[in-house]
Symmetry: C2
Subunit: 181 residues, 2 copies
């Protein structure tokens, strides 16, 4: 929700690299989100997100069930990762899932969100279902792991420095601005 | 390292409640710190702490082995939890462990740190070894769990709101100031 505005202000460029967290969690022995597996921490994280979103003026409600099936959305994002609309599309998906309680595995919803973001819905959905995208997204998961990524959102700088989570977004942008400046 | 200064600035009072994380981790099925069990996240957290401490102007180096045996330090802190020197003593323990690489299970070191913090070392160490302290610290762990605590540092407000980690210290202090204001 915040990265494009902050990056623009500091003249930092973004390369979007969607990936799946599920396969990375599985290697930790987790069949679902750790927020579901570790109850005290999960309850806290929910409250923390509520408070943060209130501070940011963002609506928030945890989808039921959580986590949702995000494979289709991730494939669409992978297909459109280098397009100008990828930021707007990503925000639209997160609003649909975490504010409106919509089912992001629904193909018709994806088409709506693509159009809303100014993207060609039909050709992008076709690309999302292509063999190239399926293989490409799997490679993106491996790439994420190789960069030391274990959660989302993660921000990797040109020098390889990894920053994890909304809490570190400003740090990542400042460090990126120093790198390029 | 930071809480007493921030709390004083906002006229927020602190009640220190030392507890042990080990028994709480054990209930999650963890025999040691999750930073040791989950390697990618552990490596990241170490780098994150290095960067944060650099930003705060604090020396940092992970003790070997990590985690250290903190039972003695926790018992001393429990015995002195309501004393005026508890903040200074706590900072001294963290500097010894995370900056100087000293063994905080060493009784002579504890005595030095108590004196450094302006505390009566001999009587406090005797109190730390008392049955009352051993039982009291165990009760403090149960109390922490009942408050929903799963990590450290944690900050619980008078209304029960829980904040976890250095990242949320400012939020906790601001919310506490609003509660009492």
């Amino acid at each position: 929700m915040r990265i494009e505005t902050l990056a623009r202000d500091r003249e930092v460029s973004i390369v979007w690299r969607p990936f799946l967290l599920g396969p990375i969690f599985k290697k930790n022995g987790w069949s679902t989100s750790p927020f579901n597996l570790y109850q005290a921490k999960g309850s806290y994280m929910l409250r923390d997100m509520e408070r943060l979103c209130e501070g940011y003026g963002l609506p928030f409600s945890l989808p039921v069930p959580f986590p949702q099936q995000s494979l289709l959305a991730a494939r669409v994002a992978h297909a459109g990762r280098d397009q100008s609309w990828i930021g707007a599309f990503t925000r639209a998906v997160f609003i649909a899932e975490f504010a409106q309680g919509l089912d992001i595995s629904d193909e018709a919803l994806m088409a709506d969100l693509l159009l809303e973001a100014g993207a060609p819905a039909k050709s992008t959905l076709a690309a999302a279902h292509s063999r190239e995208t399926k293989i490409g997204l799997r490679a993106a998961v491996t790439d994420a792991e190789e960069r030391g990524i274990f959660g989302a959102p993660s921000f990797v700088l040109a020098d390889g420095e990894l920053y994890w989570g909304d809490d570190r977004l400003e740090h990542a942008i400042e460090a990126a601005a120093r790198l390029s400046g």
